[in-house]
């Protein structure tokens, strides 16, 4: 009797009770989200050049991604921050746009490297080589460089192909980088993890040496001085080369990359990569085609790098081999280690944090120390390798999963993709008999 009464009571009280609870939770989240957005925007607009303001705005965007509010509202608020506040701050101070483009490039690079290292567990230390490939594919034909070794260009396009070339080069850069990935991947597929690391490192060096020396016998890469100036893309006749407009291209690239990564992670390929990373022998036994999957991971990761290389060339207006050194590869590795291997949100946060540190806070601090009359040996901008090294060591010893570890979801594979395909030559039941 008592039990029924209690059950009845709870049954009656729950909707209102739960609803109130939901509402308060929702309301708190809503108020917090709005407040955070408004405060960050106000700060960003009031002090556009301040690194702290950018940090607050990006922090607000991160908080929004966690907030328990309606998805559409989250999208609206984040769009407001990324498409309203930051570009507006960029018009007040072009440095903001410039920094953000750099950040977008690194976020996409880190996401691409995360596919290779985080998802597939293949330590690639020459990732910047693909980036260089994309940058050169675009730059050679978007400058006077092509005219130096191709007569057709000398006659028809001595200054490069023009603004439309960016869009035509994009698929080409992705393809070239993917092919570079496969070319590197094919000989190294059977190697163990640590050999792979050192071979990819060597590959990065080789690409740099080739870029530096391919000015003889035919001047293809421009040698050590590199290529300059590089033409900016146009879109419907608009010049997209200015930081304020390039910002949008960068943002689109990053959003597309992030969506692609999310889709890959939860696809059949993503699961195969994870299986391979955890135990390649077990994965092979379960029918994962290791070589195919490794090549796929290498090529896909490389193509993201190649695409971002183009954006980098546009942003810098010049490229030279020194831009594509080992330090850059390690910098990107430090980003994904800091954020969390295999964690998309973590990688984005890690890349944003390291970029802010490198291009905003360290220069700020070194300007400050110069103001105080400290010797230039304490110039913090030069300490980047030290900082990258420390990030790697400290994270490995104290927090191997990164700041925002990857979460594992239990997935119902049958519900996701329907019945599993029956392998040729037999059915599951015949094995059971």
């Amino acid at each position: 009797m008592n039990a029924i009464k209690k059950g009845l009571k709870s049954a009656l009280s729950w909707p209102a009770h739960r609803f109130a609870q939901l509402l308060t939770a929702e309301r708190t989240a809503l108020v917090t989200a709005l407040l955070v957005t408004v405060l960050a925007s106000a700060y960003q607009v009031a002090a556009p050049a301040s690194g702290l303001a950018i940090l607050c705005t990006l922090g607000a965007a991160l908080a929004l991604s966690y907030a328990g509010i309606k998805p559409w509202l989250r999208v609206v608020l984040m769009t407001f921050l990324l498409l309203g506040v930051l570009p507006y701050a960029g018009t007040l101070n072009p440095g903001v746009s410039s920094l953000m483009i750099q950040m977008f490039i690194y976020i996409a690079l880190a996401l691409g490297l995360n596919l290779v290292v985080g998802f597939a567990g293949l330590l690639d230390l020459g990732y910047i080589a693909f980036f260089a490939g994309g940058a050169y594919v675009y730059s050679i034909f978007a400058s006077s460089q092509a005219a130096k070794f191709l007569p057709w260009f000398a006659a028809n396009a001595p200054q490069g192909l023009g603004g439309w070339w960016f869009w035509a080069a994009l698929p080409l850069a992705l393809l070239v980088a993917a092919f570079m990935g496969i070319a590197l991947g094919l000989p190294v597929m059977r190697m163990r993890g640590d050999y792979l690391a050192i071979v990819t490192l060597g590959f990065g060096e080789v690409i740099q040496v080739i870029a530096r020396n391919l000015d003889t016998p035919i001047n293809i890469t421009g040698g050590a001085p590199g290529i300059a100036p590089i033409q900016a893309p146009t879109l419907f006749g608009m010049d997209m080369g200015q930081p304020t407009s390039l910002y949008y291209i960068g943002l689109v690239f990053v959003v597309l990359t992030a969506i692609a990564m999310y889709r890959i992670e939860h696809s059949r390929v993503g699961r195969a990569l994870a299986a391979m990373r955890e135990d390649d022998i077990a994965a092979r036994a379960m029918g994962v085609p290791l070589v195919k999957m490794k090549l796929l991971a290498f090529a896909t990761g490389a193509s993201f790098s190649g695409g971002m290389g183009m954006l980098f060339a546009v942003k810098q207006h010049f490229i030279n081999p020194d831009t594509f050194g080992f330090m850059e590869s390690i910098g990107i590795l430090a980003m994904i280690i800091l954020g969390g291997l295999g964690s998309i949100r973590g990688v984005i946060v890690g890349a944003a944090a390291v970029t802010l540190l490198r291009f905003q806070f360290l220069p700020d601090l070194s300007a400050l120390s110069a103001n105080w009359g400290l010797p230039s040996a304490i110039d913090l901008t030069k300490y980047q390798p030290l900082i990258f090294g420390l990030i790697l060591i400290v994270m490995m010893i104290y927090r191997q999963d990164g700041l925002i570890p990857a979460t594992r979801r239990k997935e119902n594979i049958a519900a996701l993709e329907g019945p599993l395909p029956v392998p040729a030559g037999g059915t599951g039941t015949s094995v059971a008999k």
């Binding site: 190697m191 050192i198 060597g202 060096e205 080789v206 300490y383 030290l386 090294g389 060591i393 490995m396």
Partner: protein, 328 residues
């Protein structure tokens, strides 16, 4: 072609000299790999620190004008000894701080930590010597500057002369001494036996009463000392050092270790010598072979990488290594 053959002996000698350096550094890689199955990325930086410590000792000797009064052999031994002690201690510290906490972690974890250590040490050296000397690119005080001239002999109707710098001879002699003492140490002493036991099977060695942690530390100290000695020899022979000399040389020495069969001491020596000779040949003859289209010295660093890929694809066990089945 005649001219090309004429310079061959000289090329072989310079290749042999750099090959001895690769071999001594490769010993450090291969020892650590044998015991821990792990690429000690920071080994190249330990080599680099050896060069800088050697530089400091030579600077001190020069300042106190001992460099001219002491016999050269004493100066050499002092320089190498200081570099070996420092680098050995550095190797021990690195293992203790950055690798030991990660023992038993997935393979990539200590590797990434080692890359971090490598970057940290490289930049630390730059900072330290920029503060100490105002510059990180340093000219080493000359110790062995003379050149041994052999010949001229009459070969095919023209005189042939060989020139070997004393610094090169020092590298070859001390390299040989170090290699043979190491091989003797590992094969004949009790600690060496324990080392081989740990390399073969760590847990069984521990059960047999071997102090595994101490043996691993010893490995790092010896490997580091060898790297430091190679660094100081490099400084004496090539007289110009930067914090970045370790990186490429380290990759090449590792290639040498893989070439000879990783984990195998004699293999590391043979791999290092062969790699040095191949590289010298490639550098010298790439230009003439392509009729000047490609400049050999510019592509010098690629040869080692090509050899590494070829070895790993066609003979992953190396020249002297055994093929090891993967543990399931």
């Amino acid at each position: 072609m005649e001219e090309g053959l004429r310079i061959l002996p000289q090329i072989l000698i310079s290749g042999l000299v750099i090959g001895f350096l690769y071999a001594v550094v490769a010993l450090g890689y291969t020892m650590v790999y044998g015991v821990l199955e792990f690429i000690n990325f920071a080994h190249s930086e330990i080599f680099m620190f050896g060069a800088f410590i050697g530089f400091e000792v030579l600077m001190f000797l020069q300042k106190t004008s001992l460099l001219t009064t002491l016999p050269m052999v004493i100066s050499l031994i002092l320089t190498m000894l200081a570099a070996m002690i420092f680098s050995g201690a550095l190797g021990w510290t690195v293992e203790r701080l950055a690798y030991r906490p990660l023992r038993g972690a997935p393979r990539l974890v200590p590797l990434i930590s080692a890359i971090g250590v490598s970057f940290f040490l490289q930049d630390a050296a730059r900072i330290i010597w920029e503060a100490l000397r105002g510059n990180w690119q340093l000219a080493v005080p000359p110790l062995y500057t003379g050149v041994l001239t052999m010949g001229p002999w009459q070969v095919a109707g023209a005189p042939l002369q060989l020139q070997v710098p004393y610094g090169a001879i020092v590298i070859m002699v001390s390299g040989l001494i170090m290699m043979f003492s190491l091989i003797w140490f590992v094969n004949k002493t009790k600690v060496g036996k324990a080392m081989r036991a740990v390399a073969q099977d760590r847990s069984t060695a521990a059960l047999m009463g071997v102090n595994v942690d101490r043996i691993i530390s010893t490995t790092f100290v010896i490997g580091g000392a060898l790297g430091g000695a190679a660094g100081s020899l490099f400084a004496i022979r090539y007289t110009s050092i930067t914090p970045y000399i370790g990186f490429i040389l380290g990759v090449k020495a590792f290639t040498a270790a893989v070439f000879g069969g990783i984990g195998n001491l004699a293999g590391a020596v043979i791999g290092g010598l062969l790699l040095g000779i191949f590289e010298a040949l490639g550098t010298a003859y790439l230009g003439p072979l392509t009729h000047g289209a490609l400049k050999g010295p510019e592509y010098k660093d690629i040869f080692a990488f090509l050899i590494l890929i070829l070895v790993l694809v066609f003979k992953p066990a190396g020249l002297l290594g055994r093929t090891v089945g993967e543990k399931v």
